[in-house]
């Protein structure tokens, strides 16, 4: 099985690449240095219809297939990982509404999200509940015709700038993960705040926020699915959304490979070009071929999500695992190819290396991906635990 891009996908790649190289790449170093969210680029992406690719056309979206969505993320991440999080998190934050939202909820929120007028965020992680989702302590107490949310979330990408956060809280603390429920919280709801933003190693222009819920009243109409379905909704979301992280990792790796190749072709040492040295050639070949392998696996995973395959988590976790590790290795090698210049901020590869690290951590660490892949393997082999 091979994944060849369709003419429409090639056209999308060309469109995004032009936009990325002309408008996003020149901003990347500054976004990283100042750790400021690029509002101008968010507006640009919205204007070019690139924040609505996962939304149905009837709500103003462009309803692209998952391979195309991966291509979009990849091409933006190739020049700037921070900016690629804008379409990534727009989808991540709204996936719970795609998966479990009612027709009314979708009609209420999708037009504003598809146009990019509103930004979405996904609020699952807590200080004490990272990989261990069942340890969530945030409470949602039923109160008349709604719920009162109390507690806090941590490491929420775009949490401080989103207009809407899909959050997961316990409606039944004794039931563990079966007591989790999902809610749509609008950011201007009284009691909701983002008191703190993290200082990070990479993706520095993308605000990662702590969210505080101080008796936030949410109407019944904003509950996602039934009480107790929260864990399943959150997992179904991550099974699909981590595809975008794989695509982001492929993009980062490609950007580093392209930069190292160009540098090696221009830089002269020992009377010749760096690229003439076999030791450098071997590194470039490893960078290019492993990036290509990660890309192909990512597209295979995208096709599995498009087909809504029962084992799509096997594919998306495999893709994120391989692509994240590839991005880390390839960006580290890119710094090596540039030598001392690679280590300084004058050149972009050290930023790419710092950005790459997050792809091994968020939306499930690489260790969690292995658990998911193994669980699927054992299930296929008929030896899964009941």
């Amino acid at each position: 099985m091979t994944y060849r891009a369709t003419p429409d996908q090639d056209e999308l790649r060309a469109m995004v690449r032009t936009l990325a190289e002309e408008q996003i790449a020149p901003r990347a170093a500054e976004i990283d240095a100042k750790a400021e969210f690029p509002w101008d680029l968010k507006e640009l992406l919205a204007k070019q219809d690139l924040l609505g690719t996962s939304f149905p056309a009837r709500f103003g979206g462009t309803e692209l297939d998952n391979v195309s969505q991966a291509i979009l993320v990849e091409e933006v991440a190739r020049v700037d990982a921070t900016t690629s999080l804008i379409p990534i998190v727009q989808k991540l934050g709204s996936l719970p509404i795609h998966i479990a939202g009612s027709a009314e909820q979708q009609a209420r929120y999708f037009p504003r999200l598809a146009s990019g007028e509103w930004l979405a965020a996904f609020g699952l992680t807590e200080a004490g509940a990272g990989s261990d989702v069942a340890a969530i302590r945030m409470r949602a107490r039923r109160d008349g015709d709604g719920y009162v949310l109390s507690g806090s979330k941590r490491f929420i990408t775009h949490g401080s700038i989103a207009n809407l956060v899909t959050v997961f809280a316990s409606t039944d603390p004794d039931a563990g993960r079966r007591g989790l429920s999902g809610f749509i919280v609008e950011a201007d709801t009284p009691g909701f705040s983002a008191p703190r933003v993290e200082h990070k190693m990479g993706i520095r222009g993308s605000p990662t926020a702590e969210l505080a819920f101080d008796d936030v009243r949410v109407p019944l109409a904003n509950r996602l699915g039934e009480e107790g379905e929260g864990f399943a909704i959150a997992m179904a979301t991550l099974d699909r959304s981590r595809l975008a992280i794989a695509a982001q990792a492929v993009g980062i790796a490609q950007g580093a490979t392209d930069y190292a190749l160009r540098y090696a072709s221009e830089r002269r040492q020992f009377g010749g070009r760096l690229a003439d040295l076999q030791g450098i050639q071997f590194m470039l070949a490893d960078m290019a071929s492993s990036t290509e392998a990660a890309r192909q696996l990512t597209y295979a995973a995208a096709a599995a999500v498009d087909a809504n395959a029962p084992d799509l988590a096997y594919w998306t976790s495999s893709a994120k695992l391989i692509a994240g590790d590839t991005a880390m290795r390839v960006t580290t090698d890119a710094v090596q190819v540039l030598g001392g210049y690679g280590y300084v901020t004058e050149y972009p590869v050290e930023r790419m290396m710092r950005d790459a690290k997050i792809t091994q951590l968020y939306e499930g660490t690489q260790q969690i991906q292995r658990l998911i892949v193994a669980r699927q393997l054992l299930r296929r082999a008929g030896v899964a635990r009941p």
Binding site: L12, Q48, T62
Partner: protein
């Protein structure tokens, strides 16, 4: 009110131009784009349409079959329809033949404004707008930094060494605009999707009522040589140094010649 924007598909500015054995541009050798200077004409037309001064915008190109890609890209930026004039007899067309074909096609399309970029990036003759206006017997409003429709007239504002000239002529007119009109837009994703459904016609020479003989072998001129310009003085290159050092060396070089 209708504008037809003429555009040419050219090799990307950044790619090296190659010539075939008979000294024609080898169009297959490099990436093809809309002539960047024509993008300003497209932008000007679309701005007039958005402002409500123009009802429809069409695009016209003369060139080999792949030029439909350039027209499709223009339609992705906006506008309503496109026409390509393509014919085997047009291979190697020079400025005169190009102007003759465009003028004839424009007579058939009969827009109120026939709009062009100020030059093409590959040939840089800047002759086609004037030639088209002369062949059609229409007023020429050239090198506009802005085009406006004022009732039954068109008006351009032309940047000069001392200020602006304002030139007006009754419609229909032929006009050309410069890169002063404003940055050409990027095609949006919905624009790209919509462009696939917009009408595009392909005309042969016969369709516009011309015969190959009318064009005298598609050219009155002949290219006798194409070569790279020779360096007039020894060049010095600053390579493989840090940006700071490069800046210092270039500044020193300029200072030594009292240029800064």
């Amino acid at each position: 009110m209708r504008i037809v924007v003429c555009l040419k598909q050219v090799p990307a500015t950044t790619s090296e131009k190659r010539y075939t054995a008979d000294l024609r541009l080898d169009r297959a050798a490099s990436e093809a784009v809309i002539n960047p200077l024509d993008e300003y004409a497209i932008e000007q037309a679309l701005r007039l349409q958005e402002a409500g001064s123009v009802d429809s915008v069409g695009f016209l190109s003369m060139g080999p079959e792949p030029a439909t890609e350039a027209l499709r890209r223009a339609l992705a930026m906006g506008g309503d329809d496109a026409t390509l004039v393509t014919d085997p007899a047009l291979g190697g067309a020079d400025t005169w033949a190009t102007a003759r074909v465009l003028a004839t096609a424009l007579d058939k399309l009969a827009p109120d404004v026939s709009l062009m970029g100020m030059a093409s990036d590959d040939a840089r003759g800047s002759l086609v707008p004037g030639a088209v206006a002369a062949l059609r017997g229409l007023p020429l409003l050239s090198y506009g930094s802005e085009l406006r429709i004022e009732g039954t007239a068109a008006r351009v504002r032309r940047l000069t060494a001392t200020g602006f000239d304002i030139i007006e002529a009754p419609l229909p007119v032929v006009a050309s605009v410069t890169d002063q009109v404003g940055e050409p837009r990027y095609a949006s994703l919905k624009g790209i999707m919509a462009a696939k459904r917009k009408p595009m016609e392909t005309w042969s020479l016969a369709d516009i009522g011309l015969a190959a003989d009318d064009l005298h072998g598609a050219a009155l001129t002949r290219v006798i040589e194409a070569r790279k310009p020779e360096a007039k003085a020894p060049t010095e290159r600053v390579e493989n140094v840090s940006a700071d050092e490069a800046v210092t060396r270039i500044a020193d070089w300029l200072a030594a010649r009292k240029l800064i």
